[in-house]
Amino acid sequence: MHEKENPGWSHMHLSPLRELRGFIEDPVWTDVRLGDHLTMGGWALDLDQDLVASSLLS
């Protein structure tokens, strides 16, 4: 977990649908970074909408 600097997250694609579609590969972490000059406050995640709402203080 980061403190203040470099806010963001990492996610991994674990859907079995990828194997069914022929994508056989080792899952890897994908980093998402939002910017060094921002401080992330609260956040909420909605996977169905591929949505993150985050309060950023600047």
């Binding site: 998402v32 909605d46 909408q49 985050s54």
Partner: protein, 138 residues
């Protein structure tokens, strides 16, 4: 979205007095601005004072965000609730915290002494007269 994503970590701060408070609408998988959001950065006006760290809690309800902002001073805490349409990108409603004056006035008016003193002026006894005779008193 059918993919199962696992969020590993999210950085956050304990909060400090800041110049601007923005809600960013972004894609979880890329971190880019969300394509459905007309305005990717929604500015929130902060009512009330603060001189110490404050926190935010966000809930997503379809097209709307409910944002609870807890802030305050060493003397008093505030909680402001925002309802935001994240697709249109504007704040629909803000629950403004009551002012200090209003809170003090409310406290005085609801105190036992004030209630006793004001009752006979504000809520005089109800007399119902029928044909000139007293029939009911509340």
């Amino acid at each position: 979205m059918h993919a199962l994503n696992l969020i590993l970590y999210v950085s956050f701060s304990t909060g400090v007095p800041v110049g601007r408070l923005e809600i960013h609408i972004i894609h979880f998988t890329t971190g880019k601005r969300h394509k459905s959001a007309n305005i990717p950065e929604v500015q929130l006006e902060l009512a009330g004072k603060y001189n110490r760290p404050f926190g935010t809690h966000i809930e997503i309800m379809g097209n709307y965000l409910v944002i609870l902002l807890a802030h305050g001073t060493s003397l008093r805490n505030f909680q402001t609730l925002y309802l935001v349409d994240w697709i249109k990108g504007h704040v629909i409603h803000v629950s403004a915290p009551p002012s200090i004056t209003f809170v003090c006035l409310l406290y005085v008016l609801t105190s036992r002494i004030a209630t006793t003193l004001l009752r006979k002026y504000l809520f005089p006894s109800l007399d119902i007269h029928i044909r000139g005779h007293l029939r009911f008193r509340a």
